[in-house]
């Protein structure tokens, strides 16, 4: 049988892949992809736990809202990346380091 644990493990794997992508990719767009993956993992978690709320389908509803918010966040993120590209002429996060202490 596919138990809750299976869902959670898959969700965790997707989250870790997303986290790894955020931390190691040298392309800002790929960072957004990673964020998206992490959000999606969280959404999968919601859906997995939704099986315990057959009354008001809380998990399912929250998942729908999260998908919309994920899309909105990525839209804002893309706008940020565009502005950064305009200034730095690159979207390699390693070269966007003017926040460091001199």
């Amino acid at each position: 049988m596919i138990t809750l644990t299976h869902f959670l493990v898959v969700s965790a794997c997707i989250f870790c892949i997303g986290l790894y992508t955020v931390l190691s990719k040298k392309n800002a767009i790929m960072i957004l992809v990673g964020i998206e993956l992490m959000i999606n993992a969280a959404i999968l978690n919601f859906v997995a736990f939704g099986k315990y709320d057959k009354v008001s389908y809380g998990g399912q509803i929250f998942a729908l809202f999260a998908i919309v918010l994920a899309a909105a966040a990525v839209a804002v993120g893309l706008a940020l990346v565009l502005n950064v590209y305009r200034h730095y002429k690159t979207i390699n996060p390693d070269e966007i380091n003017e926040l460091k202490d001199k």
Partner: protein, 656 residues
């Protein structure tokens, strides 16, 4: 009048004259009268109090009379003898110091004070022997005299210590008086028991021998006699006073004072040493050519006689001989001084270079110095013990007593009186040799001096010298000492010195035979001497080994030089070598070790201690450097750090 301008010695003369007068008055008051003494406290150490005081009994009164009586003529004589000497002010000073010390020595009532004056007398002798200190020989001689005397002082100190331990007092009356502590002590069961202490009986002998050691050094007994012949470096008047009449007699005086202390063994030792001294000195005198050396050895020999007198128990005879010896020996030296004075004059006038003291340069002086000749002959007769002189009485008293003593002890002891008889005959011979060679015959260096001067080569001594000599000459004859010229027992001196009876029986035949033997022996020796020295028929080999040994004083000086002087130098050189090569290398080795340790220490400090500190610092630096990398301004680094901390927090919450 004072200091360097006092050339005339008038202060010393007046001083010694006062001593003479007061000595005479004291003698009159004390002789055969009760003893007088007085003392005051000097200092206290712990429970013992040491006192200072004066004791006047027959013995000290006699010495108080003798010393100024001999010193006064010497002072007068010195005025002429030392005239013109650049150091004469020192001479009077030292001479007065000596007389003070000697007179002090004889009146003290405590052994401690006697010791102080004993040393002072030795010191005055040192100063006077080295009077002409610019001469190397004089400096060596006075050093030798002082050092040898010091050995005797050691003996005196040891004796003092033993007596103080045993009796807790050093007062002469308490110790040696008629009811003294000595008489209250006895040797029982191998212990010397006194009223306040007791110790093993060997200490009684040791105490006696210690005091005898003191007398051996001061009175020039064998083997510590070596300083006296060298002491002739001093002026002749000094030799006559100190080294003939008074200082050397101090040893005999000491032994007479502590006489009750001696037991059988100590007395026998004294007698043996006295005989050896008398014999060896007489032998050495036979081979000497220096006039003063002959007299010096004669003094040593006569002192040996006195020691024998003490050793056999007849210390009154020894003191009798001391007194008569003082007069005739002093006269002998003064006459020798007159001769030397004249010979030195001849030397300066003729600009020749000869030894004014050498007998081989003299001869026939009877013609030029008749009065000196007569006086010296009288003194020589007294020395030889010819009848009608004082020396006859005193010397015979010792020889005869020694014969009686030997008879009472056993036939083996007859060696001592027989030796004494032989020595007396030798004495007559060597003094006869002196007179013959100096005064009779022809003046040996006449050929050398003949054309250098006009008139007689020598003159008679001046009146200032002759009159003291004349006074002493009178004292060499018998009437001063006894109205009976043949028996010494009638002498007032012997009567007064309180020895009721001897430990041995008298032998009346000896009283006749021994003087006869001595007289005949002396006459024979003079006949032989006349033949050899006046008629020049000398039959012995001058270069024989025996005569050479006599001239070189038995090579004893060379032996002492080899043992003590060279020995000490060798030890000193060894000590230097040891210090330089052993001690210094030890120090260098320790230094090397310390330096190496310190270098090791430096290395440890530099590489290990500092290295450790540096390592810690490096670790901190590296850690910091690594952590610093977080702050590189990269977005993903920051995100990474956040993730890390969240993870750590989760682990903490889940597992702890």
């Amino acid at each position: 009048m004072a200091g360097k301008r006092d050339q005339s010695g008038i202060i010393s003369l007046i001083g010694i004259a006062c001593s003479f007068i007061s000595g005479g008055l004291t003698w009159l008051a004390i002789w055969n009268h009760p003893t007088v003494s007085a003392e005051i406290n000097w200092f206290t150490i712990g429970a013992s109090t040491f006192k200072v005081g004066i004791l006047l009994n027959n013995l000290s009164a006699l010495m108080l009379l003798l010393v100024p009586t001999v010193a006064l003529p010497v002072h007068i004589y010195s005025r002429a003898y030392m005239k013109g000497d650049p150091g004469i002010h020192r001479y009077w000073m030292y001479l007065s110091l000596f007389c003070f010390a000697m007179l002090g020595l004889v009146v003290m009532d405590s052994l401690l004070l006697m010791y102080i004056f004993w040393e002072l007398v030795g010191f005055a002798s040192y100063l006077l022997i080295g009077f002409w200190f610019t001469r190397e020989t004089a400096v060596q001689a006075n050093k030798k005299a002082f050092i040898v005397n010091r050995i005797g002082d050691l003996g005196f100190l040891i004796g003092l210590a033993i007596i103080f331990t045993q009796f807790k007092t050093l007062n002469l009356i308490d110790l040696f008086g008629e009811t003294g502590l000595i008489y209250q002590s006895a040797v029982t069961n191998g212990q010397w028991v006194s009223p306040v202490n007791s110790m093993d009986q060997i200490w009684l002998t040791i105490a006696g021998l210690a005091f005898f050691l003191a007398a051996m050094a001061k009175s020039a007994q064998f083997p510590l006699h070596v300083w006296l012949p060298d002491a002739m470096e001093g002026p002749t008047s000094v030799s006559s006073l100190i080294h003939a009449a008074t200082m050397v007699a101090a040893g005999v005086f000491l032994l007479a004072t502590v006489f009750p202390l001696f037991n059988e063994s100590a007395l026998l030792f004294i007698a043996i040493i006295g005989t050896i001294t008398a014999a060896s000195a007489a032998y050495f005198a036979l081979g000497q050519y220096d006039i003063k050396r002959i007299l010096a050895f004669s003094t040593i020999s006569q002192l040996g006689f006195m020691m024998v007198g003490i050793g056999i128990g007849t210390w009154d005879a020894a003191l009798f001989h001391l007194v008569t010896h003082a007069f005739f020996k002093c006269l002998l030296f003064l006459s020798a001084g007159a001769i030397i004075h004249e010979m030195a004059h001849l030397k300066t006038h003729s600009h020749l270079d000869f030894d004014p003291q050498d007998l081989r340069n003299m001869g026939g002086l009877k013609k030029y110095m008749p009065k000196t000749f007569i006086l010296m002959s009288v003194a020589s007769l007294a020395l030889a013990g010819f009848p009608l002189t004082s020396g006859y009485l005193s010397k015979d008293s010792i020889v005869i007593s020694s014969f009686e003593w030997a008879l009472s002890k056993g036939d083996f002891y007859l060696i001592i009186p027989v030796s004494l008889i032989v020595i007396s005959i030798l004495t007559a011979f060597y003094i006869g040799r002196l007179i013959f060679k100096a005064f009779l015959g022809d003046f040996r260096i006449m050929d050398q001096v003949k054309d250098k001067l006009h008139g007689a080569p020598l003159h008679e001594a001046s009146k200032t010298m002759l009159i003291p000599m004349f006074i002493l000459g009178i004292c060499c004859l018998f009437p001063l000492f006894s109205l009976n010229p043949v028996s010494y027992h009638d002498s007032w001196l012997m009567d007064g010195l309180l020895l009721d009876e001897y430990t041995f029986a008298p032998c009346h035949s000896a009283h006749l035979i021994i003087p006869l033997i001595l007289l005949i022996g002396s006459i024979i020796s003079w006949v032989v001497g006349w033949k050899w020295y006046v008629q020049h028929t000398y039959s012995l080999n001058t270069n024989s080994l025996a005569l050479k040994a006599a001239f070189n004083q038995g090579y004893i000086n060379e032996l002492y030089q080899w043992i003590f002087v060279d020995g000490t130098l060798k030890i000193a050189r060894f000590c230097y070598w040891f210090d330089r090569y052993v001690v210094d290398s030890l120090v260098a080795f320790i230094q090397f070790i310390v330096l190496s340790l310190s270098r090791l220490s430096v290395w440890i400090d530099k590489y290990i201690v500092d290295g450790f500190v540096n390592a810690v610092a490096s670790v901190a630096y590296w850690t910091g450097n690594q952590v610093r990398l977080v702050q590189n301004g990269k977005l993903q680094t920051a995100l990474y750090s956040v993730f890390l901390f969240v993870l750590l927090g989760l682990i903490y919450l889940i597992f702890f």
